[in-house]
Subunit: 678 residues, 2 copies
């Protein structure tokens, strides 16, 4: 039926092959967020436990162990997501396909909230670690935070080209630093030279002493919830499978395992060192007995800074090295959100839950709006919560575990379906095992979600509990709108598809110049049934001058003058066109508007405004089309129209184009194929 | 040579006759600004004199007398402007025509600054008088000020239709109130029952006691400069001559005289009563000895409030009546600036010193920008100066007297030219006398300008001295830009005016729906030399679906698919078009873009974005025109496109159109005449 004739050079389907990421680069690209969580997870556990005084700190290893188990289960679960859904849709795709679009929407909303919180928490934690090294910055905490958000926004708006190496250096530097610290610290402890944190001798004003069993259980659950921040970002790899080298799924799954092993090792190591060195952190600095300095003003150092100072020495090179690496990887994790946002938006837009233009990656305008919106909300949260990591983290975990739980549930359904289609016993056993892992993951993350909701609700999580449904409703509304428009636009078999009988061309003339001349020539070239030059009499003397000039011209097109008693343009022109169309209902009117094309944005303020308004109004009239005939003013010569624009997230979605490649495509032409009707 | 054939009904040249203003309505419409100055002029004189203590208050009548003389001279001078330049261009037109465009630009900048200051000062003074009646509002002074600016902005943005009557009521109420107060107060004084102001017994901590003669002279000059605020707005009538009934000039001149007489009477009356009742006002309330209340917080009442309380009694009906009328006329005066701004902008735009679209009154968008800008600057000044009338007034007078001086100088030149053209002795005598008045006016206002600059410079006037040149440079830049564009666009005799040889039509297709269908039909109706449907392969599966659907359609247009390896739209399409044009350099390409037309602004976010960007880029390509083929979505049915929009300033420029009138024009069609070439 359909014969495809290929014109031009064949499609370069291999064009993107060499841009894919090897595992050792993919790890830092996708894992900066989960690995950086190590920088604050231990601290959050200790903060909650010390609400009950120093006595309950011995529970920390148990809480940490629970977090490790959860982390391992979630990593295992997502390994299976990666293998089953290699398209990069991640949790959203799993849920939307297996549970349904509504649940998918909830996951999408949760993930969007997540991105916002990733920016806010990571930047705040990064600044915490900078202040731990340079306490003089403490009075300017919020300003420094906002500064980093602004820098990230600017970088992403400019579209600085990402490279895998830019991710690799700080991530591996952080991993190496933490590993060295853990090994050195534990070795020293084994050899009897136990590192002592600066806060080891501090006492703690406990708010809740002598807790009942129930209250103690609640305290442990709260500590556990806080520790779950270690799991944030684990799903990142599942969104980036397309960027891996082949075999994509396998490589992604292996990277996932490596990431999980690293995260667990570092988390356990830091927690162990914090226990050994008797590191103390509290929510309210004034609860510390023996704190040096003014507890209302001076900051406590982060757990990682205290441990590092205890192991390496307070002003040692390694201490500053580790603080710098920690701050860097945290800022990098924030940048992850700026990258992940457009990827998720693109998928949501494809499913028509977000404006369509977010789907096409080339559209920087829409994308820039996303970056600015993300920055504004995250920056607003940072300012509202005074840049306090601990307070911001309360909002973080609800979204994360909402998507975890729904994703694992979706995977269980996925395996159920697989099971129905599987016949061999070996296969069935494999699917059974996979389903078990995801079911366990779903159960565990579901329980954690409830725990997090209960323990964190009044501490700020309620904001997220409001935000997610609001986002869902908004996206559902957009979806409905698109569906309605689609239905309205569908071509029905009995739709009238007759050609218009006549075409009337009208050239709008304000004065006689090259742009008008070109519009008139172009209009005549289309050989319309009638051709009229039209001017509106806004100013009597201008019109008279135009008429006089017209009479001297070598143009055989009649110039019609419409009177405009109220000095408007739109109404008289519209009235003229309506009258024209009323004579021939099957006719169409083509209005030619000479437009100046200018090189500088501010020149647009000076030109074309009234014709743009007229045009906007003309489009409301059925039977009218509007043709812009451009005249390029000399200032357009300055415009560099060949510049390649890079979008954040390009590396993650497997797009890395060089100027030279793209210009070659430009020069050689893009492949064109024709599908003619037989 | 040129034969005009009139089509349709003849032009209703009389359409605007009955909307012109009788004198008794024109007075309040144009004079609310100068008359309202009475509310603060006396106070400003007293404020400066009391810097030298109570002793120098006896100089107030001399200062006031000087102001009265100046006011009389300026009114006489402007009477001549009105008669010589009845077109409503006012000072700007006089200066631009007689001195030159550069001087005209200075006047224009001064007037624009004036409008800003009129809003700021009038609103601040209005709020002063409200607070004098309701002192409880004092802590919220700035908020109340900003509130009024917001209300004025909203009113003017919505385009509430002005009516002469709306001006008449508060203006005549104010005049009547002040007149009753002056007559009653003076009568009581003559009868021996001298009214005593509440502040009559206050002493004053004088900063400057025992001034040297030079210092005293300087103090008097400062007081005189402040008193000159009574002259602000005097030129308003000269901008509104076209709105008067015939004989326009004569009526305007008479109204001018009436306005001058009223302003002088009220100013003298209020000043006399303030002296008689021993009213005291000082810059710093804490300098008042015996002030009741907390001098750091509680406000002094305005002079007009103190006098009115002394004459009518403190809580009398008449006191509240006069305060209400004063506040109202001041707010009305602020509204004057919102009206005057578009009128002046329109004239400046016509001379190409401001963006062209400001010239066409119908363009609400550009106009709205002006209103918002005016409100932002005036509001910003009010906030920056804490809503203090006294501090704001320092910025007011420089601009006013700059335009006065230049205008009178221009008039002297005008008469010089007239004189050269006059022959009869009687005429010559008349012109001689007119020139003498304007020369005296120019000299006097010039001296005052120097005095104001010297005495006010450090008190804030320097801001205006910076702002006026900045505005001038900006407007000159815009003018140069337009001149350059004009030169670039001029059609030269040897310009190539050959018809394009072939027209290639390209219809951009994203999917098959009614809008695409219509675009294809319209494109075919224009009978192009070639017709192609073009789609960009952004998503392989979407493209496949489109190809499959296309093959089932009853359309004999070939669908070409351009590959887009980087998922862009613009570059591949552009590359295709360039290739097409390279085959025939005299060809043109007409790109048809199906566009959705939507009824709600937010729907625009959801549609058309990528096609708009593509279009913007296509216009940079010579030999390309872009045709929008609209498809009206159902939501457009909600849009009321017949609503008449009123622009502020309509009444002043003689435009008052009713819905019925305008709809009649719509129905009957606008007059059209054709100028065919012979």
């Amino acid at each position: 039926m359909l014969k495809r004739v290929f014109l031009g050079r064949p499609f370069r389907s291999d064009a993107m092959g060499h841009t894919l990421l090897p595992k050792w680069i993919a790890l830092p690209v996708f894992a900066s967020d989960p690995l950086s969580s190590v920088a604050y997870a231990t601290q959050e556990i200790l903060l909650i436990l010390t609400l009950g005084g120093v006595a309950y700190l011995h529970l920390a290893p148990w809480v940490a162990a629970a977090v490790v188990v959860l982390l391992a289960v979630v990593v295992l679960s997502y390994r299976q997501v990666v293998r089953a859904y290699p398209s990069g849709g991640g949790s959203y795709e799993v849920v939307a396909r297996n549970i349904g679009p509504r649940a998918g929407l909830v996951v999408a909303a949760a993930l969007l909230v997540d991105y916002v919180m990733t920016v806010a928490v990571s930047v705040a934690a990064g600044v915490d670690n900078i202040i731990s090294a340079i306490p003089e910055l403490n009075p300017h905490r919020v300003a420094v935070n906002v500064g980093f958000v602004v820098v990230l926004t600017a970088m992403n708006l400019r579209g600085v080209r990402e490279s895998g190496r830019a991710f690799a250096v700080p991530t591996y530097a952080f991993i190496a630093g933490v590993m060295v610290m853990v090994v050195l610290g534990l070795t020293r402890a084994v050899l009897g030279d136990v590192p002592q944190a600066e806060s080891a001798h501090y006492g703690i004003h406990a708010e809740n002493v002598g807790l009942s069993t129930l209250a103690l259980a609640f305290l442990m659950l709260r500590a556990f919830s806080s520790g779950c921040t270690a799991l944030t970002g684990v799903e990142a790899i599942s969104n980036g499978v397309p960027a891996f080298r082949k075999p994509k799924s396998l490589n992604a799954a292996r990277t996932m395992s490596a990431m999980g092993a690293l995260a667990i090792t570092m988390f356990v190591g830091v927690t162990a060192l914090a226990m050994i060195s008797h590191t103390r952190v509290v929510e309210d600095t004034c609860d510390l007995i023996g704190f040096r300095g003014d507890c209302t003003r001076d900051p406590q150092r982060t757990v990682i800074a205290q441990v590092s100072a205890a192991v390496f020495g307070n002003d040692s090179f390694m201490f500053f090295y580790l603080q710098a690496a920690t701050a860097l990887i945290l800022i990098l994790a924030a940048n992850t959100a700026f990258n992940g946002f457009p990827l998720l938006s693109s998928i949501l837009a494809q499913d028509r839950y977000l404006p369509r233009q977010l789907h096409t990656r080339g559209d920087r305008l829409a994308f820039s709006n996303g970056v600015v919106l993300l920055a504004l909300i995250a920056g607003g949260l940072i300012v509202a919560f005074d840049g306090s990591t601990t307070r911001l983290i309360q909002l973080y975990i609800v979204g994360v575990f909402t998507s975890f739980t729904l994703c694992q549930t979706g995977m269980v359904r996925h395996w159920n379906r697989e099971l129905a289609a599987t016949t061999t016993a070996a296969e069935r056993r494999r699917v059974h095992r996979a389903r078990l892992i995801n079911a366990f993951g779903a159960l565990l993350t579901g329980v954690v979600l409830v725990v997090v909701m209960v323990t964190k609700f009044t501490h700020g999580a309620y904001l997220v509990v409001i935000a997610i449904p609001v986002l869902c409703v908004l996206m559902a509304g957009i979806h409905r709108h698109y569906a309605a428009a689609r239905a309205e636009l569908r071509v029905e078999p009995d739709d009238d598809a007759a050609l218009p009988s006549r075409v009337h061309a009208i050239v709008l003339v304000s004065s006689w110049h090259k742009a008008t001349q070109r519009a008139l020539l172009f209009a005549r070239a289309t050989k319309p049934d009638t051709l009229t030059a039209l001017t509106v009499n806004i100013d009597e003397s201008d019109t008279r001058a135009l008429l006089a000039e017209w009479s001297t011209l070598d143009v055989d097109v009649p110039l019609k003058v419409i009177e405009s008693p109220y000095r408007e343009i739109t109404r008289p022109v519209l009235s003229y066109i309506k009258q024209m169309l009323s004579n021939g209902p099957r006719d169409v009117v083509n209005v030619y508007i000479p437009e100046y094309v200018v090189g500088h944005w501010w020149e647009n303020v000076l030109h074309n405004q009234s014709s743009l308004r007229l045009k906007g109004r003309l489009l409301f009239e059925p039977g009218v089309m509007v043709t812009s005939v451009p005249w390029q003013l000399r200032s357009t010569a300055h415009r560099d129209l060949t510049r390649i624009e890079h979008s954040p997230g390009d590396v993650r979605s497997g797009i890395t184009r060089s100027e030279s490649e793209s210009l070659a495509a430009e020069k050689n032409g893009y492949a064109v194929k024709t599908a003619p009707r037989q």
